[in-house]
């Protein structure tokens, strides 16, 4: 039974639950918008990285470089899209 639950994956699961609890503080505790957003940004990106490394085995094959380059590329485009949109359509008019 024990060999079915490798420590690495159990740790990944427990940490993702803990990070969810931390993120929930934003709702249950009273805090400013800036502090709340900072907490959410940190917990969300750590959780995403946890999934990638602990569960998705992103670095285990010989295609490691191509896989990481591609994922970073996707993330970079997504971030430019999100923050570029915010910059041109929202923040400029506040």
């Amino acid at each position: 039974m024990k060999e079915l639950f490798p420590a690495k994956q159990v740790m990944g699961f427990v940490s993702s639950l803990l990070l969810t609890v931390v993120a929930l503080c934003v709702y249950f505790l009273d805090m400013s918008f800036e502090v709340g957003m900072t907490i959410l940004l940190v917990t969300a990106f750590i959780q995403a990285a946890l999934q990638l490394v602990f569960f998705m085995h992103a670095g285990e094959s010989s295609d490691k470089k191509a896989i990481y380059t591609n994922v970073y590329y996707g993330i970079a485009i997504a971030l430019v899209t999100v923050f570029g949109t915010l910059l041109t359509l929202i923040w400029g008019y506040m």
Binding site: E3, L4, F5, P6, Q9, G12, F13, S16, L17, T20, A23, L24, V26, Y27, F33, G36, M37, L40, L41, T43, A44, Q47, A48, Q51, L52, F54, F55, M56, H57, A58, S61, S62, D63, A66, I67, N70, V71, Y73, G74, I75, I77, A78, L79, T81, V82, G84, T85, L86, L89, I90
Partner: protein
């Protein structure tokens, strides 16, 4: 077909390795797809018109429930991949089955949520906010629905054929897809729900 024994079975052939790399490229495109949805959401979220805002309609209980269910299912599909690598067919099927049941429960909670939105007067046509909210949640939900059928067919194939280079490759790729859906949900949970409720 040359089988490389030094690798887990799902990487064993050149074709398998290319399938996995190809799927990662697809996931890169999916990251961008959800990036554009989030960009649109942040642009339109204040356009509520005379309709309800996020803070008016979001309920924390179903959202936390969905998050826990999806995180657990991401854990169990990881365990299924691990069980597959130690050649334990029964455990693989059990973990894959649990994953699919959790996916089904996630979907039930999400459907309950959509019905709740409908009853409080938030539909696709209510406002710019409601349109982009339901589009973003719906795109994720459609991915989960697709994954349920995909996972079911892989479950049946493993049950029938056991572990072959093909079935292990398929279930590894399915596990990548499922983890990815969990990652997307984490961002929906943080930047749509919690941000909206803050």
């Amino acid at each position: 077909m040359k089988l490389d024994k030094s690798q887990p079975l799902e990487y064993g052939t050149h074709q398998n390795q290319m399938n996995i790399l190809g799927f990662w490229i697809f996931l890169g495109a999916e990251i961008m797809l959800f990036g554009t949805l989030f960009a649109s959401f942040f642009t339109l979220e204040n356009g509520v018109g005379s309709g309800p805002t996020g803070a008016d309609v979001f309920e924390i209980t179903p959202v936390v429930l969905e998050t826990i269910i999806l995180l657990t299912s991401s854990f169990t599909i990881g365990l299924a991949t691990h069980a597959m690598r130690i050649n334990n067919k029964k455990a693989t099927l059990v973990f894959l089955g649990i994953t699919l049941l959790l996916g089904l429960s996630f979907l039930s909670v999400e459907i309950y949520e959509f019905i709740h939105y409908y009853h409080v007067g938030l539909t696709l046509q209510t406002s710019a906010f409601s349109a982009i909210l339901l589009t973003t949640l719906g795109t994720h939900g459609a991915h989960v629905t697709f994954g349920l059928f995909w996972g079911l067919f892989i479950f049946l194939q493993i049950k029938k054929r056991g572990f072959t280079p093909e079935t292990t490759n398929k279930s590894f790729i399915f596990s990548l897809y499922w983890h990815f859906l969990d990652v997307v949900w984490i961002f929906i949970f943080s930047f749509i729900y919690l941000k909206g409720l803050m």
